[in-house]
């Protein structure tokens, strides 16, 4: 019963998101045909433009277009991307790997590092705590794209340690890029996005752990002769994990938003850049597909948080 409700809710969410994205694209001033033609528009007559529009089906009323798209989607075909002149599925397939490596990697790393940093701040206290806190406040107030540009200037331009752009050496076909080269190109974008995510998790962990350290059960552990790390290992991590997981799952959306900016700055061939391209060129099928995928990932993250709660805190499972 709960499962059916969940699926219905998910379908409703996806329909609403796709309708909203579609409506926004329709009121946007970008004309897909003009954007598609680019400078070549000078050589194309209005009749030819109308022909292109007709072959894409965008001369029909908006609701008909939407229903036609929905019908195709239900039969498993999300359409054709005008930006990349390829099926949407193929565009997604090409770009989901780099995106997962960047956004997924940064998400996991920021969770681990943030949690560890939060624990360290409370465990060490004093100056360590102050430095970590200051670092988190500064990072939380730093825009991702600015941080990304700063990293590029320092590590790629001045020091020359990391490549300036892309997921592989310029000119090399993606399938010939070695794993080491991939890592080398991933390092800087991943760092930028991880640094962005760490602050929130660290601050949430730190606050909860500080509260735990004042609790009666920690006093009891101290009275038993337990040391600081013993207490953090057995009581601190367990009790601080819940807010950390909440913050981490809630940050899925922010991480995707951040990855759009980071991919733009580093010219990373992921879904984030495809989103920007699709938006600039009025590529409705691609944008809709990315929006639906993102919706699934974000709502899936929240769902996972709900499920994890009951594992982490037995009080939530009603057992």
């Amino acid at each position: 019963m709960a499962g059916i409700f969940l699926i219905l809710r998910q379908i409703l969410l996806l329909s609403l998101v796709s309708a909203a994205v579609f409506a926004l694209m329709k009121v946007s001033p970008v004309d897909p045909v003009d954007a598609y033609l680019g400078p070549a528009i000078a050589h194309v007559s209005p009749e030819q433009k109308a022909q292109i529009a007709a072959s894409w089906g965008i001369d029909r009323p908006a609701h008909e277009q939407f229903l036609a798209w929905a019908g195709h989607l239900l039969s498993g075909d999300p359409g054709h991307s005008t930006t990349y002149n390829a099926p949407v599925l193929q565009v997604l397939g090409d770009r989901i790997g780099p995106s997962l490596a960047l956004a997924g990697g940064a998400w996991a790393l920021s969770g681990l590092l943030g949690f560890a940093l939060g624990l360290l701040a409370v465990a060490a206290g004093g100056w360590t705590d102050r430095v970590i806190r200051l670092y988190c406040y500064v990072l939380a107030a730093t825009p991702t794209f600015w941080l990304a540009m700063l990293l590029l200037m320092v590590f790629s331009v001045r020091l020359g340690w990391t490549p300036i752009c892309c997921a592989g050496p310029v000119g090399l076909p993606p399938e010939e890029v070695s794993f080491a080269q991939k890592l080398h190109h991933l390092a800087l974008p991943l760092t930028a996005l991880t640094l962005f995510g760490v602050a929130q998790i660290a601050l949430h962990t730190r606050v909860k752990l500080a509260e735990v350290m004042q609790s009666d059960y920690v006093l009891m552990a101290r009275a038993q002769g337990a040391g600081q790390w013993d207490i953090i290992w057995h009581h601190g991590m367990r009790n601080a994990a819940l807010p950390a997981v909440t913050a981490l799952m809630a940050s899925v959306g922010e991480m995707i938003g951040g990855s759009i900016l980071a991919e733009q700055v580093f010219a990373w061939p992921g879904l984030g850049r495809a989103t920007v391209d699709a938006g600039m060129k009025g590529d409705v099928p691609l944008l809709l597909a990315i929006a639906l995928l993102t919706t699934l990932v974000v709502s899936g993250g929240n769902l996972m948080a709900d499920r994890l709660y009951t594992r982490l805190d037995p009080r939530m499972s009603g057992r």
Binding site: S215, D216, Y217, L219, M220, A221, R222, A223, Q224, G225, A226, D230, H234, H235, R238, N239, L312, D313, P314, R315
Partner: protein, 260 residues
């Protein structure tokens, strides 16, 4: 076993950025607890009873300043309780269920307690000593009743067979039956040669199980009485200090006379 001489306890507080002030919470406190004895420490809330317990165990926050001497079995412990003593020779019997980690099973917490205090024995056997079955090991603290939680806490504390038990309000919130069960367990510890510092505000309940009573008011010791002298409805004439007599007469059943 435990001897406290001229113990004073103050807290540093910052007022604004630079100005410091000190708040005195215990002043010039001296008392002894001998082996085989239950010393009840009674007083109202805020009298400094729990702080006394924390001072002995070295669990005070960093802004606390202590003066005076605390000696345990001939060793000075006022500058921090040595690791070998805390939990193993001196143990805290805490007040309530919140002293158990809400997210960990009783069995795990008991195992950690054993490891921390270097105690031997299996968790099942230790629980059995306190009348709890092996099924309790799998429970979380919220499954425990008040009486069960108290027994679990006592089991955790007593596994290392400490010499001195510091019981901080061990009976708060318990029904008379469970309260007497806990107090009898503490009494039994003293009878076997240990010592108990029993911090309580429920003097009437603690009296049958105590040898002596230290009365604390606003951080000062204002009476050290023999528990047997708290007798005779009404007068409490055998008591030495005026505060003890006033306290005795204020108890329900002895006139309820707070102004006498």
């Amino acid at each position: 076993m435990l001897s406290i001489r001229h113990l004073s306890l103050r807290f540093r507080r910052y007022q604004g950025l630079l100005r410091q002030s000190q708040v005195t919470r215990l002043s010039d406190l001296s008392l002894d607890v001998a082996a085989g004895e239950v010393l009840a420490v009674a007083g109202a809330s805020g009298a400094g009873k729990s702080l006394l317990a924390h001072a002995i165990l070295g669990l005070l926050p960093p802004n606390a300043i202590t003066e005076g001497a605390i000696t345990f079995q001939g060793r000075r412990i006022d500058q921090g309780c040595p690791p070998g003593l805390r939990g193993r020779r001196i143990a805290l019997v805490p007040q309530q269920i919140s002293h158990l980690d809400p997210l960990a099973r009783v069995g795990d917490q008991l195992t950690w307690a054993l490891r921390r205090t270097k105690a031997k024995g299996a968790p099942v056997e230790i629980l059995a000593r306190f009348g709890l079955g092996p099924e309790v090991l799998r429970l979380y603290p919220r499954h425990l009743s008040g009486g069960m939680a108290r027994r679990v806490l006592l089991a955790m504390v007593s596994a290392a067979a400490p010499d001195l038990l510091i019981a901080d309000e061990p009976t708060a919130g318990l029904d008379p039956e469970n309260r007497d069960m806990v107090l009898a367990l503490l009494r039994g510890h003293a009878t076997r040669g240990g010592a108990v510092l029993l911090i309580t505000h429920d003097l009437a309940a603690a009296l049958p199980f105590s040898d002596r009573v230290a009365l604390l008011r606003d951080g000062e010791l204002c009476g050290m009485e023999d528990a047997r002298d708290f007798t005779g409805t009404g007068t409490g004439a055998a008591l030495c200090s005026p505060f003890a007599r006033a306290l005795w007469r204020a108890l329900p059943g002895n006139g309820f006379d707070a102004n006498a």
